[in-house]
């Protein structure tokens, strides 16, 4: 017999919950290290810029062990952690392990070689490395990881691609990274600037404005312009306006659509998100948006429609803009704030999806489908709530409160930095490789995709991106990333 759905259903069986558990487990390790002074967190591998490959790998706490040892230890510990999650989620453990292992080492090799000083050193850093020129491409490792993933995901033999899907979990990896990112805002609370709270509030305002404008406009475009049925129009409007695949699944469920509807729309969303991920960061960096870095980053949260691609686009924009600021303005912006702005708006969007699905279900069943026997359960809001967001806020509050009180800022920074910064970068690059692996451009050639793709593309170009830019500018203009020191 099927089991009744409870509030705790899925707590140990969904990727969303396992990003919460794994993310917070490592945050707890960092806090314990900070509180006790025992170095149980410094092993996390960092990839430094280099000209001598002997300096390329460094553990976060550089005296703890060699770089190679740190890489192996990081592989072992993160493998165990994700394999525990994979086991409880009922994955094929053998296939997950080997696919994860390939993705980890492929990402590590890409990270290592893409950090060469000739590729990434800024003009100011060249003298430190003893080189006369460099390409100064901040974030080159992310871009290379994405393209290598795309090459494999689209050109490798089908059996190999399908095997790699077992370990390519971009949403899981990015959600773990986002829990780690919560620590960064916690550290900002410790610095007493109020900046993190301001970012939180303007992100919420921008999100509400976007919800109210995006959805009705795209729905109308789909119904009037493309003559799509309500089932397709509502699901596509949510996918493109709210939080991508998760919104299209939630909306499809709320309006009781046939599963084929969110499945086809989700295929489109994933492909378009990768196109945006490649195009938007350089567009934002090399246009007047450079003068409004936080607004530019926030616009990514409103326009790039999967968590993974949004955070990834934020990370590339972060690298590109900081490199440009250092070279042209002589200013060193703190790493991670541009990424945080892009993630913050997305987190608000994600949190409201349950409320949106509930409202839509009530309206649909009462006024469109008119089915009196069916009841809408308020628990929808909780079931659809993104649980990794809880991890993000718990990490934020725990690091902030403990850093301000019993532990102290310097000790907290020492203990938590391996995950807040170094571990986060590792999970980001795993996300980039995985996004490439799971993005299949062949989906666009499938039957009946043409009209949907056109509706999606036009909705994105004519409504979402222009309005997203305006809303982001209104709420974030004038905000600048904190500078180093």
């Amino acid at each position: 017999m099927a089991e009744e759905k409870k509030w705790y259903t899925g707590m140990f069986s969904t990727e969303d919950w396992w990003s919460f558990w794994i993310g917070l487990f490592f945050v707890a390790v960092g806090i314990i290290a900070a509180a006790t002074g025992v170095d149980i967190s410094g092993w996390v591998i960092g990839f430094e810029k280099w000209v001598d490959i002997g300096n390329a790998l460094q553990p976060d706490h550089s005296n703890m062990m060699s770089g190679v040892s740190s890489l192996i230890v990081s592989y072992i510990i993160f493998t165990i952690a994700t394999c525990v999650g994979a086991y409880f989620m009922g994955m094929d453990m053998k296939k997950y392990f080997w696919a994860w292992t390939l993705i980890f080492w492929l990402s590590a090799i890409i990270f290592l070689f893409s950090r060469h000083a000739y590729i990434q050193a800024t003009s100011i850093e060249r003298a430190d490395f003893g080189i006369s020129w460099s390409l100064s491409i901040g974030g080159a490792h992310y871009i290379v990881a994405l393209f290598v993933g795309l090459l494999i995901g689209n050109l490798a033999p089908k059996s190999f691609r399908e095997f790699m899907y077992h370990g390519a979990r971009p949403e899981w990896f990015i959600k773990i990274a986002i829990v780690f990112l919560g620590c960064k805002l916690g550290m900002k609370v410790v610095d007493s600037t109020g900046y993190a709270l301001e970012l939180l509030l303007v992100g919420a305002c921008a999100t509400v404005a976007a919800y109210l404008l995006f959805w009705p406009l795209v729905y109308t475009l789909c119904r009037k312009g493309f003559k799509l049925t309500r089932e397709w129009a509502a699901t596509l409007a949510s996918g493109i306006s709210i939080c991508g695949v998760s919104a299209s699944i939630a909306t499809g469920g709320a309006i009781r659509a046939r599963p084929i509807v969110p499945v086809m729309i989700s295929s489109l969303i994933v492909v378009f998100a990768v196109v945006e991920l490649v195009i938007l960061p350089p567009v934002l960096t090399y246009t007047p948006w450079f003068n409004e870095p936080m607004a530019a980053a926030s616009s990514l949260g409103l326009t790039v429609k999967t968590d993974g691609a949004d955070a990834a686009a934020g990370a590339i924009t972060d690298q590109l803009m900081r490199t440009r600021a250092q070279q042209e303005l002589g200013v060193q912006w703190e790493e991670g704030w541009i990424t945080s702005a892009s993630v913050m708006t997305k987190i608000w969007i994600d949190m409201f999806i349950g409320v949106w699905a509930l409202i839509l279900a009530m309206l649909w069943l009462r006024y469109v489908e008119k089915r009196p026997d069916e009841k809408v359960e308020k628990m929808e809001v909780w079931w659809r709530f993104p649980k990794f967001v809880l991890g993000y806020f718990v990490a934020w509050i725990a690091v902030g409160v403990l850093g301000l009180t019993v532990i102290g800022p310097d000790a907290m920074d020492w203990g938590i930095h391996p995950f807040e910064s170094t571990g986060r970068h590792l999970f980001f690059i795993l996300t980039f490789t995985s996004i490439g692996l799971v993005t299949n451009f062949r989906k666009l050639a499938e039957e009946n995709m043409g009209r949907l793709a056109l509706a999606y593309g036009l909705g994105l170009l004519l409504i979402i991106i222009p309005l997203g830019w305006i809303i982001a500018y209104i709420f974030h203009n004038g905000m600048m990333p904190p500078t180093v020191g």
């Binding site: 759905k5 899907y165 991508g244 699944i249 469920g253 969110p262 069916e374 079931w383």
Partner: protein
């Protein structure tokens, strides 16, 4: 109130609700609910004036594997039949 828990899915053409040996199918959800009401009446013979609730949990394993990481479930329906 008696509560029955069932799973359901869409096979590309029909919605199918299932619980053990009980299986009901229809091309749209309105028809499915009607057939379900009749099938449950036969199985449980609910007394006049009683209410029977049905939790229908969508079988998420029928959604493509790559999508499942984006959202934890598709839909959950609760029907309440008055007899």
């Amino acid at each position: 109130m008696h509560v029955v828990n069932m799973s359901f899915y869409h096979d590309g053409e029909q919605w199918i609700a299932r619980d053990g040996d009980l299986e009901v199918m229809a091309s749209n959800l309105g028809d499915l609910d009607g057939k379900l009401r009749e099938a449950l009446e036969k199985r449980y013979t609910p007394p006049q004036g009683s209410r029977l609730a049905v939790n229908l949990d969508f079988d998420y394993s029928t959604i493509p594997h790559w999508m499942i990481q984006y959202h934890p479930y598709y839909m959950h329906r609760r029907l309440e039949f008055d007899y």
